[in-house]
Point group: C2
Chain length 448, copies 2
């Protein structure tokens, strides 16, 4: 998959936000080799079992066959533990809080743009701690960072929770996830944070001397979010006219379309447009002008609607005479989304646009939240789950089933256990599958 500039600019917005949050929470960026000796991957039993079928292998380098194949990184726990084992000696070296922005490869049989690609871009955080408690706190802190990004920036009302054992990361004790509902009601796992316990530490002998002079294994976490988020944004908010991008991550927040039907109009219209652009850019609003006279204004409106630009400003000769313009929001279709007579004077125009961008951001989130809530059904029996899933909806119900029963549901309905949400309804709960008391409710849905 090629990520063209418009998509990549969304990724840059995601990176900018997350990188800032990672640094605020004490993490530093680093870079580890992409090609990992196969023997490293093989050291942690669950890990190699989970990843072996998806690996790309380098077997030749510089014209020669390699003695040991190199794995093109699918994730970096192993190479990073190889280094951590050398770096960590004493409790004074902990915590180690690192992050890496990079590409990874997973040899997927069925691919789908942005959502499941052979290669994708992501960040992977890797931390080592002296205690189990600190690692658990870290894993929770980072899933909350992802949740905050999704909700406040991407306007994706994700549900944070814990994965079931069989859906957890290969090598993790616990996997936390944020699950998003796309507009076709499928679930998208949009970010994960793993408490790895001492699994990799034991495989790689990542040990430290504690304050009592005892050798101990470090407790670790890893957490990642990827270019899949771009797919999440597209599939959460898109409509029949194209993308609808949340203003906070939109590469272009405002597009201005000058309307110059006669040559005589051009000077005055473009003069007014220049003034608006200067004011918008001065206010830090990402702005584009589409003055392409080879295309009609209508063609240009459609084009920028397709691109999902949240706010469009139209300026024609009559507007200039009146000192006003027309402003249209992308999220509200047709005439209802159009405001005429908006003053162009910067002291009125800029606060108006800022307010509108905030409104669009909030409206997209509210709309997606309402859609999500409409499409989650509480179920009390397996039959109800089947009916719910057959309608394409998400099912929520008490769960105390076995791993085998979870697999049975997947085979029979294609729905998987998405998560045990952190936010649990009041109990007691009864397992819809077994009729036994259940400690928690779980969400089931079809996914990509």
């Amino acid at each position: 998959m090629v990520i063209r500039p418009y998509g990549y600019a969304i990724w840059e917005a995601i990176q900018s936000y997350l990188d800032g949050k990672f640094k605020e929470t004490g993490h530093q960026n680093a870079y580890f080799p992409q090609l990992i000796p196969y023997s490293f991957i093989a050291k942690e039993a669950q890990h190699v079992e989970g990843f072996a079928p998806e690996l790309a292998l380098v077997t030749k380098g510089g014209g020669k066959d390699l003695e040991e194949p190199l794995v093109v990184r699918p994730t970096s726990e192993t190479i990073i533990n190889h280094m951590f084992a050398q770096w960590v000696q004493s409790y004074r070296d902990l915590p180690l809080l690192l992050n890496q922005w990079c590409n990874v490869h997973r040899w997927e049989m069925r691919t789908r743009p942005f959502v499941r690609t052979l290669e994708f871009l992501w960040q992977e955080g890797h931390t080592a701690h002296a205690t189990a408690e600190e690692a658990e706190e870290e894993a929770m802190r980072m899933i909350r960072v992802y949740e905050e990004f999704a909700v406040t920036q991407a306007a994706m009302p994700v549900i944070p929770g814990r994965k079931s054992r069989i859906e957890s990361f290969a090598g993790a004790n616990i996997t936390y996830t944020i699950e998003a509902m796309m507009s076709d009601k499928k679930a998208l796992q949009s970010g994960t944070s793993h408490n790895l316990g001492t699994n990799f530490a034991k495989a790689f002998e990542t040990q430290f001397i504690d304050e009592q002079q005892q050798m101990r294994y470090v407790h670790q976490t890893s957490w990642g979010a990827s270019t899949r988020l771009i797919g999440g944004v597209i599939m959460t908010h898109g409509d029949d006219k194209g993308l609808r991008l949340p203003p906070n991550i939109a590469p272009t927040q405002v597009v201005i379309v000058p309307i110059t039907r006669k040559d005589a109009d051009r000077a005055s219209v473009m003069g007014a447009v220049d003034g608006l652009v200067a004011a918008l850019k001065g206010a830090g609003i990402r702005t584009k002008v589409d003055a392409n006279e080879l295309k009609t204004p209508g063609w240009r409106y459609n084009y920028w609607e397709l691109k999902g630009v949240p706010v469009r400003v139209e300026v024609g000769p009559r507007d200039v005479e009146q000192g006003t313009c027309v402003v249209a929001r992308r999220d509200v279709p047709g005439k209802e989304g159009k405001q005429v007579g908006v003053p162009m004077a910067p002291e009125a125009f800029i606060p108006h646009v800022q307010g509108l961008l905030a409104e669009v951001q909030a409206a997209l989130l509210a709309q997606a939240t309402a859609f999500r809530d409409e499409n989650i059904v509480d179920v009390t029996s397996y039959d109800e789950l089947k009916a719910t899933v057959a309608e394409g909806k998400w099912a929520r119900g008490g769960w105390a089933g076995s791993d085998d029963q979870e697999k049975q549901i997947k085979e029979e309905t294609q729905a998987t256990l998405r998560c045990f949400p952190f936010d649990q309804p009041a109990g007691p709960h009864t397992c819809f599958m077994t009729g036994q008391p259940a400690a928690e409710v779980a969400l089931f849905a079809k996914s990509y």
Copy 2:
């Protein structure tokens, strides 16, 4: 090679500056697949000849042997032309101005940290233009961007110029370079910009219809700078005590070392330090405090000298009483670099530190420039070149030799033709090798 956080932070400073300049000059970021079908690499004859010996090949994916091996990208001209050929139809699609931040692999026999590594991080710009003139302008514009970065940010007084035919990029018509002199007097090629002409366009049929309805090949450029620059900074400025980092790209510009010999000192000293930190951070100065009382102040001074932090501030109890502190600059060793009695009041302290950072930046550039100029010798015969190179210096002289004579010099002296500098001394010139008139002087030096 692993890039640890301190080194990676230098890379982030480099990225931040260059990415800003690329965008200012109209480029957008994108991302292309890393694994390239071998047949793509083979399409441009010179390109495959140059890169084939250095390739890493993926031959297995998802547990199966691949029908065609995939090349782990050594550079992306081929995959990008594969896409450009689909994207470019008309002159209206041009220019295409893209950049990609990524990792690349070249299977090197002799590696050296940062400078020659099997995998490295870089950016690669790729552009397509309607005319040869525009491509040439672009190639020149970007080598000047690299030059400006090197001189103003990295304090590396690079010499920009044109590579000889045999030292040019495999597939380029012309390669421009910035050449830096390291402190061991070896040359480091620190960034390159290539005018690719229509070579790749012809191999990939990247054509457009011009305004006269004629099919034409696009004219292309590519240009790159890498984590090698981190090595360049280290080897340009480092001394026997460790790194010396130019303030503009130093992850930490100011380190404050509180001196608290008695418990009673701690509150007042740390109070004063907190005030300095707040003022420095408020002024956008990257600041660290090293209050590790397990280490003596002297140990901590040495540690941050090793790390190359440009300015150190020492605050002890007597300083606090007097409202002053001691400030030491990393680039001037010993007592001469120390200033006592510097007022801690922010209105005096901040401008003082800002001035000092600017002085250190300028002094590192001036020192490296003087060193470079002392070690370039004008030669008028091959014997003089040999003697100059044997001393480890760079030789400059008129050059009208053949490719074979250039290779002969390399074999006999290990020096290579680094570049024909843009900045040429007044002529006429005589070739030191052949005695014939020479259009230009060239620089010869040993390199990494």
